[in-house]
């Protein structure tokens, strides 16, 4: 039975915070960590850490072909994790869940299998200017190899997708695939993916959703979206590194050729050839990240006990407060849409100091933010920037931590202005 979310009014956010051991850390003598870099990777609750430890202590064995007790336990737990992921995103069946290493690998899998077979020289892939490199570079690689064309939906000054351009590009270019992020890891923009998918399907395209930033932070249902592919990572959603997910519609998976070749993805091997295994195993070659899959399952249980809608509201409240307080800092500009249109990500530039220097000063006060292009160079170029400083929030952050950020930014101006 899956945990029911507790009503938001009863949620003990401080209690939730206390589940994360690392948040007690002093990063410098007497200076406690204020972790504002969850868009990069999330911290992990004790339950996830302990589940992986327990796996290695009590049920560790290789999966899928073993008659002994440990092999059966490990297999059951791994497949239970698959089932849990399917439930979490509203997939029709667990066979539509492929475990990968991360979002990047998931997208590369689609590129190497579905796209390579179904897109032909002269075909177009439609992306956007706000995509993460992992949802740009694989398509560039394939385009270069197969003579495909890439088109990009522009981003408005307010940090949203230009809807008329999107429609125009769909109609004019008739792309075979539309690949779009559901939440920008720089601007925080939440894109209307359900609507985009509907328009894309009408125009004859399939849709790949980059859910790396959205799945950890809001309720995502692949059937409501009618996404053909959804990619996301465990480590951004309170799970361990080394585990990611590709969701794809069953019919697509049946038709796609295998990704990597080797053990487990076969039904039979002879000297002269092989028969691939059934879906989803066809796409999981070699021993997988078993402990990590189990960690991801426990992370999902943890998140659902809090409730994805509650998490989303919590982050929007913090982001709204952050946007408000950031506007007090002289010479600071935040990029992206207003609070209602974004998740808990805020990227900004300061007149007085370069992002490296901002991040360095903030670090002295225990604040962990990220400085750079955040794997979105085309987006930065669009705004005429090389780099920004990014503060991102998750369920364990508080309004008080935003106050600490503001104090730190005040110090940056004191030092550099």
């Amino acid at each position: 039975m899956n945990p029911r979310p507790v009503a938001p009014a009863l949620l003990d956010w401080q209690g939730i915070r206390e589940q994360f051991p690392i948040l007690d850390l002093e990063v410098h003598p007497g200076v406690r960590l204020v972790y504002l870099d969850s868009a990069s990777t999330s911290q992990k609750p004790a339950a996830v850490i302990e589940a992986m430890d327990r796996f290695y202590r009590k049920t560790n064995a290789n999966i899928h072909r073993g008659v002994h007790y440990l092999a059966e336990e490990a297999t059951a737990e791994y497949e239970q994790a698959r089932k849990r992921v399917a439930e979490f995103i509203g997939a029709e069946q667990p066979q539509e869940i492929i475990f990968t290493r991360n979002t990047t690998e998931s997208i590369n899998l689609v590129m190497q299998t579905w796209a390579r077979v179904n897109l032909h020289p002269g075909d177009t892939i439609l992306l956007t200017e706000m995509e993460h490199h992992s949802n740009i570079v694989p398509w560039q690689m394939l385009a270069s190899e197969r003579g495909l064309k890439l088109e990009f939906v522009p981003v408005t000054e307010q940090g949203q997708l230009d809807s008329p351009s999107l429609e125009h590009l769909l109609e004019e270019k008739r792309p075979g695939l539309v690949a779009v992020t559901q939440m920008s890891n720089v601007l925080g923009t939440i894109n209307p993916v359900e609507e985009i998918a509907r328009k894309a399907h009408q125009a004859g395209a399939l849709v790949l959703v980059d859910g790396a930033q959205s799945v950890p932070h809001m309720a995502v249902n692949v059937r409501s979206l009618d996404a053909d592919f959804l990619a996301f990572s465990g480590h951004k959603m309170c799970g361990p590194t080394g585990i990611g997910v590709l969701y794809a519609k069953r019919a697509l998976l049946e038709a796609m050729p295998p990704f990597m070749g080797g053990g487990d993805m076969i039904r039979r091997v002879r000297l002269r050839g092989f028969e691939p295994n059934e879906v989803p195993y066809k796409f999981e070659a070699g021993t997988p990240a078993i402990a990590e899959a189990i960690g991801l399952k426990v992370a999902i249980d943890f998140l659902e006990r809090v409730g994805m809608d509650a998490i989303h509201s919590h982050e929007q409240e913090i982001a709204a407060y952050a946007l408000d307080r950031l506007s007090e800092i002289p010479g600071l500009r935040v990029y992206g849409p207003p609070a209602e249109a974004r998740g808990g990500v805020t990227s900004f530039s300061m007149k007085s100091a370069h992002p490296h220097d901002v991040a360095q000063v903030l670090d002295r006060y225990g604040l962990a933010v990220r400085a750079g292009h955040h794997c979105a160079m085309p987006l930065h170029e669009r705004y005429g920037l090389a780099a920004t400083t990014r503060a991102s929030f998750y369920l364990y952050n508080t309004l008080e931590e935003v106050d600490r950020l503001i104090e730190g930014l005040g110090k940056v101006n004191e030092l550099f202005a």
Binding site: A353, H354, H356, D357, Q360, R364, A386, A387, F416
Partner: protein
């Protein structure tokens, strides 16, 4: 405040002595670090014996990269190109007087990379890596 932003660095960042461009110049070289947007150009004028008579830097970047550029260009006036070619990472670190993480080290070394590429007359600074 912090070791990293000791007075020397902040002073050179806010009040550079060597900022500008030289026209005419004998050597001019520029390069950038696309990962963070630091961009530097160094111009040199040589005297009759081939020693550096004037030096100037221009560009944008973080405090470490710009302070490093200011200190470096100041230190090479009067040096020969041969001596400049011998400068290394240790010289920059000694000049700045601070410890740097790998990420910030790249910031500090950009000016050296640009200077040496110019001194070697290289087509592209990446030949130095």
């Amino acid at each position: 405040m912090d070791d990293l932003y000791r007075e020397l660095i902040l002073d050179r960042y806010k009040n550079p002595r060597m900022r500008g461009t030289l026209d005419p110049h004998d050597i001019s070289y520029e390069d950038d670090n696309p990962l963070c947007g630091d961009h530097l150009r160094i111009d040199l004028r040589l005297d009759a014996e081939g020693r550096i008579h004037q030096a100037a830097f221009s560009g944008e970047g973080c405090a470490i990269s710009l302070a490093s550029a200011d200190l470096l260009t100041e230190s090479i006036v009067g040096k020969s190109l041969e001596e400049v070619r011998k400068l290394g990472k240790e010289d920059i670190l000694e000049m700045l007087g601070i410890e740097l993480s790998p990420v910030r080290l790249k910031c500090a070394l950009l000016s050296l990379k640009v200077l040496k590429a110019g001194a070697y007359g290289l087509a592209e600074a990446k030949d130095l890596d």
